[in-house]
Amino acid sequence: MGTAVVEPGIESRVHYLNASYGIKSWLLTTDHKRIALLYLASITFFFFVGGSAAVLMRLNLISPQGALLEPATYNKLFSMHGIIMVFLFMIPSIPAVLGNFLVPLMIGARDLAFPRLNLLSWYVFVVGGCFTLYAVIAGGVDTGWTFYTPLSTTYSNTNVISAALGVFIAGFSSILTGLNFVVTIHKMRAPGLTWFRLPLFLWAIYATSIIQILGTPVLAITLTLVALERVFHVGVFDPAVGGDPILFQHLFWFYSHPAVYIMILPSMGVVSELVTAFSKKRIFGYKFIAFSSVAIAAISFLVWGHHMFVSGQSVYAGIVFSALSFAVAIPSAIKVFNWTATLYKGSVSYQAPMLYALGFIGLFTMGGLTGLFLATLAVDAHVHGTYFVVAHFHYIMVGGAVMGYMGGLHFWWPKITGRMYPDGWARLAAAIIFIGFNLTFFPQYMLGYLGMPRRYAVYAPEFQVLNVMSSAGASILGVGYLIPLVYMVWSMRYGPVAGPNPWGAKGLEWQTPSPPPTENFEETPKVTEEAYAYGTEETQVA
């Protein structure tokens, strides 16, 4: 395994990676697979930038007085961590990398509906990223990723405008990607691929795209208003002219709560693929999982007020939003139960992607259930804004969405590069991440109920024990994320050749060589069976 063997199968054949060479062939490509790799490179960069901010923060919180940072620096770090992780890593992660790579492959198409628009959206993303990075380098932003007014409009002396502009621009990239996916899934499915034969990953991506299209513009206009208010010193959220700062929160969360589902839904799609492939079994309750994705996307727009239970929002609106928030728990529960049931009577194997998938189900269950605490008005009135919230959304976003992303990346890595990564290392990394994650964030639930507010650079001494535990976990988690970076890069060159279908999985993407040729399929495939038709016949190997 350790030696570099040049297999004839991979080097002699023309595929999308060796079809042309040179920087230009990458930067001007309209091939969805290459664009996916461009995204992969950029978001990996942002992931480690955001991650290092998190490491510094956790280090600082080892001591109640703040071990190494000034409060102002700490504030900038958590703002940067939030902005980068949410807008430049999580939101583009699965849709823009795995989605870009897989949507055409899974539906048997040559490319997305608008290949040039796809490239444009990557450039837009990079420009947005640059504005954000500029804001960081030029001295940072200290408003938190939430940009609450009037702190962001009037009182902060930092680079709010360029950060807001960065998020605004990256948002447009997200809109364009979503638009591309919706049109592609509608118009370009291979003959025979009906809606109920679609892989569940595509259902999830479709639901995600709807959120991106309908939610993101509201965030865009809101941040525009914030920027204009900063420039002209008068605007619609300014209490001095009768404006309402709480209106900002409404508009912000109208996008930013559904944004959580932009992150988690595609991950759920990935998990549906993984659980079936590694238990060699059809999914349990296909239609329930498919429709629950759409239901989650729709309901996600009705619940944003649960971020505002103690913000001065009216009690009646609080009750309405609380009820609607509970409603979103149902489709999520349905998904978890169905995945678990899929294992029943299966033939389960434990390669790394499956470990990530099982990790996802466990952590998402915990994250989702603690969401009930926050939807419950009386309890939220105590834990709102504390570390309980921090723990909850990290369980969803990191324990859920990132686990799914890592699982998907490992699962399709052989398809993307044509080579296998070392499975032993990958399993080890998955285990380390799972343990490190729980050590980092479980103590934060307890901190939250004890009443430690979030975004604190220094804290009361009674919270120290749990904070030290959390910081210790974070160091394990950090190592866990570095291992894949190393072996993934290594495998790109030295990994053993994977072959078209190393997992024996179903789905159109496995019926073409790895890496796929530029045009994806020699001829347009015809679909004659349901998704996940495991057990009907032996998987055909091209």
């Binding site: 009750i319 609380s322 299966g346 008005l377 009443g451």
Partner: protein, 349 residues
């Protein structure tokens, strides 16, 4: 509670116990389902592990009754939790009628807390045990949040509007309070202690030390200093007696309730709402009065009697006849407490 490794903050208010019970219930639900999912996954994953490459899965497509069951059960649990949580929240949101009102002003990065009897505190709040306290809060700059974990209460403190929370402490002691809405550089140190004292200690604390004048009398002084008296005491402007809580007829035909927000607006932006029968001649006091002074003026106006409370269920109309309300001042109540200072009621010249 385990010493040194607590799982919940002190239960120091009447609200705390109820919130904790709901929390324990949710934790139990949580543990149950987490264990259920984890154990099921472990069981299935081990029982059906691939023993050899030849192992075939048995295909199961789905099961409608099962789907229905695991839709209904979470639905039921959610419904119960929702009803429990909401009813508790509604109860916890409504201060008792006889609450003592304390005014809170947040600014970057300190808390100013003003007792109706006069004393003003910074980052410290002394309250008597077993008496309902209502905090009426506003901010001078950005959004803050007043959070006392031991009491299980918090609320954002928003510039340009008044929000309120209430609590009734159940045991004496020192309890941390925090700013819980990120508010800029020194957000993390914007906190302090609520000191809950026995009624006797509290009285002693009130009478000893630096004793400022009561809010209402400070407001009365302002009323003369700022020359409010020249119009509002003479009939050129609407009088204040029995104003608070009454219905005010405006020049555009609508009516508003004279609450804190209305009075604050009328001081800062007099032309926003014009009382029927008066000219819009009042200049703005924006920039001339601080939030605390507004609160003092409010306390003064409240001390002149409240239209809503004077005749429960049958609110007095406003503006009242001038000659009728002259006796309104003096021993009126501020938020259910005897106002210690006798406030002179200004009469027209």
């Amino acid at each position: 509670m385990w010493q040194g490794f607590p799982i919940r903050p002190d239960q120091a208010s009447t609200i705390a116990r109820g919130v904790d019970h709901l929390y324990y219930f949710l934790t139990a639900v949580d543990l149950f389902f987490t264990a259920l999912i984890f154990l099921t996954i472990f069981y299935l994953a081990i029982k059906y592990r691939r023993r050899s490459e030849e192992t075939k899965a048995t295909q199961v497509e789905g099961n409608l009754p099962l789907e229905v069951i695991w839709t209904i059960i979470p639905l039921g649990i959610c419904a119960v939790t929702f009803l429990w949580g909401s009813s508790l929240f509604i109860r916890n949101s409504r201060p008792p009628e006889a609450s003592t009102e304390i005014f809170v002003v947040g600014k970057q990065w300190m808390w100013k807390l003003q007792h109706p009897e006069g004393p003003m505190e910074i980052n410290e709040l002394h309250v008597p045990v077993r008496r309902p306290i209502k905090l009426t809060m506003t901010s001078e700059d950005v959004i803050h949040n007043f959070y006392v974990p031991a009491f299980r209460v918090q609320k954002d403190v928003v510039p340009g509007m008044y929000t309120s929370i209430w609590f009734e402490a159940t045991s004496t002691g020192r309890y941390h309070f925090f700013c819980n809405q990120y508010c800029g550089t020194n957000h993390a140190v914007m906190g302090g202690y609520v000191i809950v004292m026995s009624p006797d200690d509290y009285e002693q604390w009130l009478s000893g030390g630096i004793r400022g004048e009561s809010m209402a009398s400070a407001g009365a002084k302002l009323y003369e200093q700022l020359a409010c008296i020249t119009c509002h005491g003479t009939g050129k402007g609407p009088p204040f007696v029995n104003l608070f809580g009454s219905q005010v007829k405006l020049s555009d035909g609508t009516t508003v309730t004279a609450d804190e927000a209305y009075i604050r607006e009328s001081i800062l932006y007099p032309s926003a709402k014009i009382v029927a029968g008066y000219q819009p001649i009042m200049p703005t006091y924006k920039g001339q009065v601080t939030e605390e002074q507004i609160l003092q003026l409010l306390a003064y106006i409240k001390s002149l009697g409240s239209g809503g409370a004077s005749q429960p269920g049958k609110p007095s109309s406003y503006p009242p006849k001038l000659e009728g309300g002259a006796e309104g001042g003096g021993n009126q109540t501020v938020g259910g407490q005897q106002s210690p200072a006798t406030v002179p009621v200004p009469k027209g010249p």
